[in-house]
């Protein structure tokens, strides 16, 4: 039997707790953001496919200096 198979549920539990905290925090942040932000203007939706739309992209990118 390997060392990992010996690991008891109690030894695994801190990792499970960390996973739960991580996902709850992420879902909590996204929910807060959705509720706190202005309603999305569905009539002003960006093009489904940018290529060929003729519209410049409006998203941010990490290569941008400003």
């Amino acid at each position: 039997m390997t060392a990992s198979e010996h690991a008891s549920p109690s030894k695994r539990s801190p990792m499970m707790v960390l996973k739960i905290i991580f996902w709850v925090a992420l879902v909590g942040f996204l929910s807060w953001d959705w509720l706190a932000s202005p309603t999305v203007d569905l009539r002003n939706e960006p093009p489904v496919i940018a290529a060929g739309s003729g519209q410049a992209p409006t998203g941010g990118h990490c290569s941008m200096a400003k």
């Binding site: 960390l18 940018a50 992209p57 998203g59 941010g60 400003k66």
Partner: protein
């Protein structure tokens, strides 16, 4: 969690995006899931590939990465030339880029993950990467908030090979550059090595296709760290710790607009969420226990995670935004990023050994 309920949750989120946000964002979420599942399923680690080359003279990882960059360039450059509304990942060559890329390369070895690596490993449930993610976001936000000061040290305008030379010449230069890099790798590893295996191969092909889909749908190349910085910026603004007005980066019209709306409308944020979801889906069948870290390793790892985020903004991207997207869309800053980050990695690998990660 098992795969079926996870798939149901992802489908529900996709429908929510489709109904309440936009069709584009729903599609980008699916692209993100594909990216996350590929990164996690193939264990396509930029950080690991570089470390294996340095420590074991194993070229498989970097060959896979060179293949990814070449394929992505082959797909992206003709698209950029044909559709003027598509944008390249153009960062300014600058002092900030030199320092940022070096520090990023160093800290990614300690944190055992770059931008995409931190994301997919957090999605897989690896404790250090889950702990690093919020600090990466804070670092990314602070780096962007200080970017004006860093840029004042010296910069030139971004250089885009496709705009300057056209797609054919830009592609030829890019492929020649990648071939040159592989020749240097060959000189380092010596004869008789396995250059590529199936996992790196399918990972490279799938990531190149998905990165191209991101470019076609979003109009901009795949990126990771902008989304992290945005999340922390929103939280800091809500807590009244940060006023974006007057800030060189966040006060700029486009960023101020993105900051004022839900992150679900942000291109990078939505692919990041998809990557986490895709990796979580893979983790449902993943096995293997993680070696527990000591208190010292945790502290060093978390500090490295913060610096990883900060330096990624100074460097105008991580392995994805600067290296993959920069090089494949013909940005000179991507070619400057690689050697500087590799120099940092040479130091980072030693520090990693020193602290027994």
């Amino acid at each position: 969690m098992k795969r079926l309920p996870l798939a149901a949750l992802m489908a529900a989120f996709f429908i929510f995006l489709l109904w309440s946000v936009s069709v584009r964002q729903a599609l980008l979420f699916v692209v993100g899931i594909g990216l996350g599942a590929t990164l996690a399923g193939a264990r396509f680690g930029f950080t690991t590939g570089w470390r294996q080359l340095i420590e074991n003279r194993d070229p498989r990882g970097v060959t896979g990465q060179a293949l990814l960059l070449g394929l992505a360039a082959l797909l992206a450059m003709p698209l950029l030339a044909s559709y003027p509304e598509l944008t390249a990942a153009l960062g300014p060559p600058s002092i900030s880029l030199l320092i940022g890329a070096f520090v990023f390369g160093l800290t990614m070895q300690i944190a055992d993950g770059c931008g995409s690596g931190t994301l997919y490993k957090a999605g897989l449930g690896i404790p250090l990467n889950m702990g690093i993610l919020p600090l990466f976001a804070i670092g990314s936000f602070m780096g962007s908030a200080h970017l004006g000061d860093w840029l004042s040290l010296g910069q030139i305008e971004p250089i885009g090979l496709v705009d300057m030379l056209g797609a054919e010449k830009a592609l030829a230069i890019t492929l020649a550059g990648l071939a040159g890099a592989l020749i240097v790798v060959r000189l380092w590893v010596g004869p008789g090595k396995t250059w590529l295996d199936g996992t790196w191969l399918w990972g490279a092909v799938a990531l190149a296709v998905l990165a191209t889909l991101n470019l076609i749908i979003a109009g901009q190349p795949w990126g990771v760290v902008y989304g992290f910085g945005l999340w922390a910026a929103k939280a800091a603004q809500a807590a009244s710790w940060f006023d974006p007005t007057g800030n060189m980066f966040w006060g700029q019209e486009g960023n101020a607009q993105i900051l004022s709306q839900t992150v679900l409308l942000d291109v990078t944020s939505i692919t990041n969420i998809g990557i986490l979801a895709g990796a979580l889906w893979i983790s449902a069948k993943a096995t293997g226990a993680q070696k527990p870290l000591t208190k010292q390793q945790w502290i060093i790892g978390l500090v490295a995670g913060f610096l990883l985020g900060y330096s990624s903004r100074l460097a105008f991207g991580c392995n994805v935004g600067a290296m993959l997207s920069g090089v494949s869309t013909g940005s000179l800053h991507g070619w400057i990023w690689i050697p500087l980050a590799f120099l940092g990695t040479l130091v980072g690998v030693r520090l990693r050994r020193r602290y027994q990660f």
